[in-house]
């Protein structure tokens, strides 16, 4: 019994310690933001890697999710004679929940893990120490542009995901199942409120991007400098960021008020 309590205590204190280190790292990224030079070139390169190279995955996933959603919801709504509400249900569920969450999880798997692996391998090959010896701050040079790029890319990818999902649901609901196109679009227009729904979606995707940027860069910087350490850090980024995205999604939804 005493052993179990001791173990729980040790785990709790190591969790708090880890949170403290992440917060400290986040503070270092934040304080390095206004410092010259701007690292604009690195930011653009990171934005390309995290954003542009994720577009194909987001488009394909978005369209497929939209088609599945359209099919499931049309069938279910038809049972209650409410198929006219397809546009509204699809729009609200995608914009408020599915869009930001699924985009967050997809970007975590594609870009977040890649950033951790890149920074981790830079650490393993002493590139970060090389920067320190040249009196260059690795947080400013390596972490800040990548974390910022993930934060910026997430809302844009979220918008793409939602747009393609709505188009996918339209294809199934209207073109294949025969629902009137005007009913679908007007249902969508009437149900979705810009401030509440689109605003919530935007805030969520920004928070998810911020969390992913922080976790992915921190895990890379903090990993053990060998192949196993990099592999562990990459896995840890995917797991930690996914859990953080899901938990923060609930918290934002609860605080925002449904």
């Amino acid at each position: 019994m005493t052993g179990a309590i001791r173990k729980l205590g040790a785990q709790s204190s190591s969790l708090i310690e880890a949170l403290g280190r992440i917060a400290n790292f986040g503070g270092a990224i934040l304080s390095s933001l206004p410092k010259p030079p701007t690292r604009f070139g690195f930011f653009i390169r990171a934005l390309y890697d995290a954003g542009v190279l994720s577009v194909a995955l987001i488009l394909l996933s978005g369209f497929t999710v939209g088609m599945v959603l359209g099919l499931q919801l049309y069938t279910t709504l038809t049972r209650f004679g409410a198929e006219g509400g397809l546009g509204a249900v699809v729009g609200l569920s995608l914009i408020r929940e599915l869009g930001p969450v699924l985009t967050g999880l997809l970007v975590t798997g594609r870009a977040g893990s890649a950033i951790t692996a890149e920074i981790g391998s830079m650490k393993a090959t002493e590139q970060l120490d090389g920067l320190r010896m040249m009196a260059i701050d690795p947080v400013h040079f390596v972490a800040m542009p990548r974390a910022l790029a993930l934060t910026m890319a997430m809302p844009l990818l979220n918008a793409l995901f939602i747009t393609l999902s709505i188009a996918g649901a339209y294809l199934v609901g209207v073109t294949i199942q025969g629902l009137d196109g005007g009913v679908y679009i007007s249902g969508l227009e009437n149900a979705v409120r810009f401030g509440d729904d689109v605003g919530q979606s935007l805030v969520k995707s920004l928070v998810f991007g911020l969390l992913l940027g922080l976790i992915a860069t921190y895990k890379g910087h903090a990993c053990a400098p060998d192949a196993e350490g990099v592999a562990r850090a990459t896995t840890s980024t995917v797991v930690t960021a996914s859990v953080c995205i899901l938990v923060s999604d609930y918290m934002i939804t609860a605080f925002w008020g449904v």
Partner: protein, 248 residues
């Protein structure tokens, strides 16, 4: 200084002279690279002091260390070049970050140091497109591009052909002579290292033994004789004789 439970140094006391060429000797795992990293402030001792140019660096924050590091160039064992950047960007990075040099001046200085290490027309290549020897020379060029006061070299001759070993050796000697550069070298390339060194530091049993090459040649200290062997001591003595006849 410990790694996990394994002590690397215990009661280590060592002084390096300004403007000297120092050769760090020791078996694998004796702490040669660790000592270089301690001088650069990358590794902190568990207790004690590390003084670089009068600055106590063991207690400095990372930001305070930047000022000290401005005067230090370091060649890492595997080069540590940034693999997403070209040779030009890598070698020019310290100039871009810490000077107001124009792009033209940076290109010209980079070409100059690359030529000094025997490399031409490699500016646009990425590190992965270079051979091991070229990579080390590019890393060496980056370490000296800002003409630091202290140069820390971890195995500078490893992976180089004899011609380039001589080239780097001559360049190190020239920088030491012309700029008063303090050089600290770890190397298994005994011939070159012994030719250059003013002071030898042998890391043994978690401590160090220091002396001039001639002191090492005539020493009967068991730690030195065991490490160098009879052949090594005879080589040092002969080298000393030759240098006496034709001082460098």
């Amino acid at each position: 200084m410990t790694f996990g439970d394994r002590p690397i140094f215990d009661g280590l006391e060592c002084q390096l002279n300004k403007g000297g060429v120092h050769l760090l000797l020791g078996g694998s795992g004796a702490g040669k690279s660790t000592m270089l990293r301690m001088i650069g402030g990358l590794q902190r001792p568990d207790s004690g002091e590390v003084l670089v140019a009068g600055e106590r660096i063991a207690t400095k924050t990372e930001k305070e260390l930047w000022q000290v590091r401005m005067g230090i160039g370091m060649l890492f064992q595997n080069g540590a070049l940034l693999d997403s950047m070209t040779v030009l960007e890598n070698v020019g990075l310290p100039l871009r970050e810490h000077t107001k040099s124009s792009e033209k001046e940076i290109r010209s200085r980079v070409a100059e140091v690359l030529a000094a290490v025997g490399l031409h027309d490699v500016e646009s290549l990425l590190p992965r497109q270079l051979s091991g020897g070229m990579l080390r020379r590019v890393a060496f060029a980056r370490a000296i591009v800002r003409e630091p006061e202290i140069l820390l070299c971890d195995e500078p001759f490893s992976g180089l052909d004899p011609l380039n070993v001589s080239r780097i050796e001559a360049l190190l000697m020239q920088l030491n002579h012309d700029l008063g550069l303090t050089v600290v070298v770890t190397s298994h390339h005994m011939a070159s290292s012994l030719r250059m060194a003013d002071q030898m530091i042998l890391l043994r049993d978690k401590r160090c033994v220091a002396g001039t090459p001639e002191e090492f040649a005539g020493s009967d200290d068991a730690r030195i004789t065991e490490f160098l062997g009879e052949d090594g001591q005879a080589y040092l003595a002969r080298l000393h004789e030759i240098q006496e006849r034709s001082p460098r």
